[in-house]
Amino acid sequence: MYVAVKGGEKAIEASHRLLEEARRGDPSVPEVSTRQIAEQLGLAVDRVMAEGSLYDRELAALAIKQAQGDLIEAVFLLRAYRTTLPRLGNSEPVDTARMAIRRRISATFKDIPGGQVLGPTYDYTHRLLDFRLAGEGGSGGKAAAPVERADVPAGEPMPRVADLLGHEGLIEEEAAPDAAGAPPTDITREPLRFPAGRDARLQTLARGDEGFLLALGYSSQRGFSNNHPFAGEIRYGTVAVEVVPEELGFAVEIGEIEVTEVQMVNQFMGSAGAPPQFTRGYGLVFGHQERKAMSMALVDRALRAAELDEAAVSPAQDEEFVLYHSDNVEASGFVQHLKLPHYVDFQSELELLRKLRAEFEAPPAEAAE
């Protein structure tokens, strides 16, 4: 006798209760607050905001808490929430030349107008586990000793390094999109089309999976497309977001966001139509995410192969490959959908395989002649 397995609904409910339990962990340990996450796991929050493409520290912290620190799951939570929000309007482009700088470095010039600002970075830490942090209140319960901050006047324009090269005509012009032209595409509302414009490309990369872009950027440095990149400038700080309300007709500031901007400067030998010059790769990401912004800039430059008459032979230069596979919400869903039942297809394959196998083991008689 056979009775089919039932009770999917009950199983799902039980699974949700177990998840709740796993998320909370040992109840004798104090519960982590979203405030603590937002303050003390700020870089995780930045990543979730960027890939979730929603700038909201509190919601990102909540998503991280809800996802037990699984950042891709947190990105998904934030995205699913984001799609339900009404669209009130488009902001003006942010002006990163007017960024209130917290960190700014260039690997191409020793000294630059505005100066190099090291700011907060793990770059020169020695990666030794700091056991003081292991105990409760291990940081001594007090803030780090105050640092005398470089006198970077907020609001003072801080020229971009790439623009300095521009004065000499040694770097390609960055053509600003025609203000009267079509509005930039919006990848959250329109499906990708190929060839994609740089607008669609940069939007896709900006919220693309950091790990995927890191690997692609890395591959482009190892000879799978050769970009000869220099880190022209990496800057991180706060920029104002402005909108132009229709009834006012001029821009008003509605808030500030933290962003990391990277301009890669790449060697370029020139083509039939263009003189030898430096070219650019661009990265811009929410929050403080240099690894992501640098990877984005490398991949952006690699994807400009067709535009610059370069042979596109490597994965990082392949627009469809890169753009279709960079979204971790899509990728994670599809990889994991293999967990869903596939009984029917498997049954079909099983039946086919048995048939093929029977034919293989007992070849038709006439074949023996």
Binding site: G8, T83, L192
Partner: protein
């Protein structure tokens, strides 16, 4: 419990789940999807790109079908959701619950009582009727994708009706194995024009698509495509004169209801090669048993009701 009857939603008169619109999607998104559906119906088998949204369920788990259903469903609809032919697989339960919560609609397991049926991997055994809408969840909508990974290329192939590669691939099967070795997601031509992927239904179900009186809508959320087969539209499974299309056949009948004409799932009963076959369509099988049909391993009458 099987509960194979129709159940009213929590409150069919009231939109469920505070804070979200009826059927979850906002009205602008629904309009965009509705326009895409109309174009899909007007160009049978052609994949219309649409601005697929993130849904609260993962991509790959039916987001395309869910967006299509959410855009067409109304308060007086009755929804059936199946996965692998069954109403009670976890993902079917989850999707049905999503609509019960966000749209407050009635749900059913009875194929003929549903106005909208959302499915993953099967077409019900019970013949669909005029006025019903079958919504397929589609993972990869492009029939040529495994022959040509690039969208820019496959789009050209569809534009030029250049489907030779698919025939070549199927013919290679014949040359190697003596027959076509594709058992599910078997490609079809719709109304003599577009090559279409029927989603991973077994080829057993392909004939049900041909001239069905029901409207068939296909949603691929992650791939951002919607396509359609209007009622009474010719859907031909690709084949060759000397190798006509054939569906799977079983030597066994359903162990529970004795059906010899339905798609059967194989159930492994022990680790010594023991197995039995039962209908993958749980509604069809249950109803046959209610009507008194039995198979070789049917439960005792007093133990029935599963």
């Amino acid at each position: 419990m099987a509960g194979s009857g129709t159940s009213a939603g929590p409150d069919a008169a009231r939109p469920a789940e505070d804070g979200y619109n009826f059927a979850y999607l906002d009205e602008q998104t629904k309009r965009m999807i509705r326009r895409a559906i109309l174009k899909a119906v007007a160009i049978p088998g052609y994949q219309v790109p649409f601005g697929s949204r993130e849904m609260p369920l993962p991509f790959g788990w039916g987001t395309g079908g869910i967006q299509v259903t959410a855009s067409i469903i109304g308060r007086d609809d009755t929804l059936k959701v199946i996965d692998q032919g069954a109403d009670d697989t976890v993902n079917a339960v989850s999707i049905r619950k999503f609509f019960a919560r966000t749209a407050g609609v009635a749900t059913t397991e009875r194929t003929e009582d549903a106005t909208i049926l959302q499915t993953r991997h099967r077409i019900p055994e019970t013949r669909l009727a005029a006025g019903q809408i079958l919504v397929y969840q589609v993972p990869i909508p492009e029939p040529l994708r495994w022959l040509e990974p690039r969208e820019a290329e496959t789009r050209k192939m569809h534009a030029l009706e250049e489907y030779g590669v698919m025939h070549v691939r199927l013919y290679e099967d014949i040359a190697r194995f003596g027959h076509i070795a594709t058992s599910y997601d078997y490609p079809v031509r719709v109304n003599g024009r577009y090559l279409m992927r029927p989603s991973p239904i077994p080829k057993f179900d392909n004939p049900k698509m041909d001239r069905s009186p029901a409207l068939q809508l296909f949603g691929a959320g992650r791939e951002k495509r919607i396509y359609a087969i209007p009622p009474h539209t010719g859907v031909r499974s690709l084949d060759f004169d000397d190798h006509p299309f054939e569906v799977q056949k079983w030597e066994d009948v359903c162990a529970l209801c004795g059906s010899g004409g339905s798609f059967l799932d194989e159930i492994v009963t022990d680790d010594r090669g023991g197995r039995m076959f039962v209908c993958s369509d749980t509604d069809y099988c249950g109803r046959r048993r209610e009507a008194g049909h039995t198979g070789p391993a049917a439960p005792d009458p007093e133990g029935s009701g599963a």
